[in-house]
Symmetry: C2
Subunit: 140 residues, 2 copies
Amino acid sequence: MANNLQFSIAVHLLAGLACGCDQKGVTSGHLAESVNTSASFVRRTLAKLSKAGLVETATGKAGACWLAKDAKNISLLDIYQAVDAPKAFAIHGYSEQKACFVSCHIKAALEKALTKTQKAMAASLAEISLAQIVSDVKKK
Amino acid sequence: MANNLQFSIAVHLLAGLACGCDQKGVTSGHLAESVNTSASFVRRTLAKLSKAGLVETATGKAGACWLAKDAKNISLLDIYQAVDAPKAFAIHGYSEQKACFVSCHIKAALEKALTKTQKAMAASLAEISLAQIVSDVKKK
DNA sequence: TTATTCTGCAACTATTGTGGTAACAGTTAT
DNA sequence: ATAACTGTTACCACAATAGTTGCAGAATAA
């Protein structure tokens, strides 16, 4: 476990909604079955997607959820940001050792590198739309 | 904790070796002080870098380590691969639900997306050399 | 109105990946 | 021989993650 699966699962959920493999009126329970995880975790993830404006939900007895936009207009980057997935790599937060200037200044240098890499990653994710994922799934 | 810091620390270590902030004959103990972690963890990380041919070490009483190549010829990608850092994102490994074809085929689609993103990330890391990092550190 | 069945949210628990620690074998300079 | 380092392994503690449970709120149907 201990790895962050929310992004992966969020894409799965949205793909499910996008291709309507279940008929109208999909509940978190249905989605949970497809992903094979707990309904609660689905709702937790779905809540983030909802806040990001990627899905809309209905409460109440006939509760359900659906895509808020066309799958073509949802990129993996949107999803990545919505679930607040971890950065490309982490930077260690040890206290600086005054005697060694590498120790004092490495953090800034690493952050610069991280920013650059993060941008490259984001650009790549932005190029993939949910529609593309759905298409790949259906092709198989 | 629980985040992977090896990459970050490896860069720190190599930067330290590259700029020779400590005089010749750097031991894992010295490096550990700079990074502010345990000597053992330094050795563990250093061992990976050594296997990848980025550093060379001397065993025995006067043990030490130094860069195997010029800092200009070491990219962050080399370091990233040497420490076997985690991928851009993880893919969930839940079992397939036969009734739902999204569940059955999402993994392949995700892997395709991951490969693409991973390449973008690698390309970005490849553009940054250790010499660049050292330069940034010294500039500060 | 009442019962039902969803979502939304907030604990709490269990698992597991991570670095920290310690111990030991191997190597080399003194 | 002794000392001091690397290389490696095994084990421990911590923390982040997902799983679980419970409950309030909302909408529908009777």
